[in-house]
């Protein structure tokens, strides 16, 4: 945020700088509005569709409003917020959201980085492997969740236990282990399905980063006798840093909000409910509009904290562009 925000005119604007200072201010104002005009429809549309509902959410969050008891509607003060922070099951869904997001983002980033490093090498069929790697990300999320739940995790006919049976039969055993994946490790099951979908995303961004890396410095370093680890540590990794940050930022935005996987794979049971699922539940099953809205406001405040970090990442990208 340190640069850019205070400079009204960017390099690309120099072609069409505002009228000469000698002209009247009204003419300048008209020119300003002419610049703003193309922006207005998008801005107004977005404010109506996103800011107004959020204002309504804030208002409802201070109300006592349960659709099952419509007569009791009234002002509740901060009661809903007190409940958000004292109710144990709500606190656990906050914790679940954090654990789910951090686990999926970190594991996908690490796997994505390793696979991107592999795909950055030359080998026969590199294009084919890249295409195969992208496939998980292109499966519709709800279809992917159903696929993992029924076709892979199912204890009696899922692929995982099927493969275990196979391997054990190969060694002549009739009693292969047949774990109940979903009940034994419900959180890991959800995380695994999401990591499968998000690793390709991270890999794509990091591979693009690797391929934009200037080759000269690395050649020079190798000439000077640097080994592979030193090249990675001092050249590749610093270059990849902003790509890693971008991947983490975008991944977090989407995984914090994840609803499809939790809703499908465990329906929030077995202690896996995250905040989006709990809000959905509070609003649809329990009809507690006031409490659901208060939770929504808390989620937004939490994401603003992530956003503050995120904006720093993004503004460093602007800085580079302005320096162009």
């Amino acid at each position: 945020m340190s640069t850019g925000t205070d400079t009204p005119i960017t390099p690309s604007g120099s072609a069409a700088s505002p009228p000469a200072p000698s002209q009247a201010t009204s003419a300048r104002r008209a020119a300003d509005w002419a610049r703003r005009a193309p922006l207005m429809p998008a801005l107004v549309f977005l404010i109506i569709c996103t800011q107004l509902p959020f204002v309504a959410t804030i208002v409802i969050s201070f109300m006592n409003w349960n659709s099952l008891r419509p007569r009791d509607r009234g002002f509740a003060g901060v009661d809903n917020y007190v409940e958000v922070f004292t109710n144990a099951s709500l606190r656990s869904s906050v914790w679940n959201t954090i654990v789910l997001t951090v686990t999926v983002v970190v594991v996908s980033l690490v796997l994505g980085l390793l696979i991107a490093l592999l795909l950055d090498r030359r080998f026969a069929g590199r294009g084919a492997v890249r295409t195969m790697m992208i496939a998980p990300f292109l499966v519709v999320p709800i279809a992917a969740a159903l696929l993992w739940k029924h076709a892979l995790f199912n204890p009696s006919y899922g692929l995982f236990n099927g493969v275990l049976t196979w391997i054990w039969q190969l060694f002549g055993s009739d009693s292969p282990p047949q774990p109940e994946w979903l009940t034994a490790a419900p959180k890991i099951a959800i995380e695994a399905a999401l990591i499968w979908q998000w690793t390709p995303f991270m890999m794509l961004i990091l591979l693009a980063g690797l391929q934009s890396k200037p080759a000269d410095a690395e050649e020079a370093a190798r000439m000077d006798g640097a080994n592979a680890w030193q090249v990675f540590r001092y050249l590749t990794f610093p270059h990849l840093r902003q790509y890693l940050e971008l991947g983490a930022l975008l991944g977090s935005i989407y995984i914090v909000q994840n609803f499809d996987a939790v809703f499908t794979i465990t329906s929030g049971s077995l202690g896996t409910a995250n905040l989006p699922y709990t809000i959905y539940q509070t609003f649809f099953q329990a009809g507690n509009y006031g409490l659901a809205s208060a939770m929504g406001v808390v989620v937004v405040i939490a994401t603003i904290i992530i956003a503050t970090f995120a904006l720093r990442v993004v503004s460093s990208m602007f800085k580079e562009e302005n320096a162009r």
């Binding site: 703003r36 696979i115 090498r121 496939a135 159903l146 006919y157 790509y243 989006p276 992530i306």
Partner: protein
């Protein structure tokens, strides 16, 4: 570890011989140990295996789909697809298609002029406007879904595909503005100046200077918006029912049946994922640009 990107192989003037020798060496290092290539293949196959398993299961009979150990070589049949298409998937498929296509078109109509006002002829404090657009993506959909639901209930817009289309437009608009701005920012300033000196009007400048640079970017933006709308579940599930339900909603209701359903389910998942798979494979490079909001070229 070493790379030989197209950039790296570009001939540098004045150093022809050493460069080519160095490059030959680099290429040799690159080929390196064939085990790395093998490992890449193994990892790629592991990641694609669930997708292949989904397609294979969709082509098996229900009894063959539910065996342990899996019957990989079982006879192929289209029964799964037949039962899926007998379940009446056309209304939701058409709803999804129209919501995705129309909202993508609306997004472009709104985002392209906005991006123009943020890059080519930027307004004052354009970075603040950009951050505002991005900040709306930080708001989880679930925090806005209740007022959207109440509004629809009181105005009779529940189960209405037009309402859903408008919401998808607002969901994708910030992403599209970010992407389009990064593409329009690539229009060379010198060419805009030259066009202005030659007395080219706005329309002519747009057509012959801006459009050639922006069109691939518009295609990438459209692809991403289409995929996000096609995949969306939470809003669709909350705001639609029988009439305006989309494919993801249809898919969630597909598992309720008793008995064996795995082949049908895999057929449904395959059909519904097909448009995204085809579009994504066809435009792999655009996918990267789009997913990174235009930050990665």
């Amino acid at each position: 570890m070493s790379t030989t990107t197209p950039v790296g192989t570009a001939p540098r003037p004045g150093a022809v011989v050493p460069t080519s020798r160095r490059e030959r060496r680099a290429r040799q290092m690159n080929r390196g140990n064939p085990l790395w290539g093998l490992l890449a293949w193994v990892v790629g196959l592991l990641f694609v295996a669930p997708v292949l398993w989904m397609v294979l299961t969709s082509l098996h009979s229900e009894t063959d789909a539910a065996t342990n150990p899996p019957s990989i070589a079982a006879a192929l049949t289209l029964d799964g697809y037949r039962s899926f298409f007998d379940a009446g998937p056309w209304p939701p498929l058409i709803n999804s298609l129209s919501a995705s296509v129309v909202s993508t078109a609306l997004v472009l109509v709104l985002a392209v002029p906005a991006a123009y006002a943020l890059s080519i002829k930027p307004v004052r404090k354009w970075t603040d406007v950009m951050f505002f657009f991005l900040s709306t993506k930080f708001m989880p959909v679930v925090a806005a879904v209740l007022p959207l639901y109440l509004f629809a209930r009181y105005t009779g817009l529940l189960d209405n595909i037009t309402y859903l289309t408008l919401l998808y437009t607002s969901m994708n608009l910030p992403i599209a503005v970010w992407m389009m701005r990064s593409f329009l920012a690539e229009v060379p300033v010198e060419m805009l100046e030259a066009a202005a000196i030659d007395g080219a009007g706005l329309i002519r400048t747009l057509r012959s200077v801006v459009a050639p640079v922006a069109l691939p970017g518009i295609a990438a933006t459209a692809l991403i918006c289409f995929i996000f709308s096609w995949n969306e579940l939470l809003l669709a599930r909350t705001l639609t029912a029988v009439v305006a339900g989309t494919s993801p909603v249809f898919l969630t209701g597909f598992v309720t049946s008793q008995g064996l359903f795995l082949a049908q389910l895999c057929a449904a998942a395959t059909v519904i994922s097909l448009p995204v798979l085809v579009a994504g494979f066809a435009a792999q490079d655009k996918l990267v640009q789009g997913l990174s909001l235009g930050a990665v070229k």
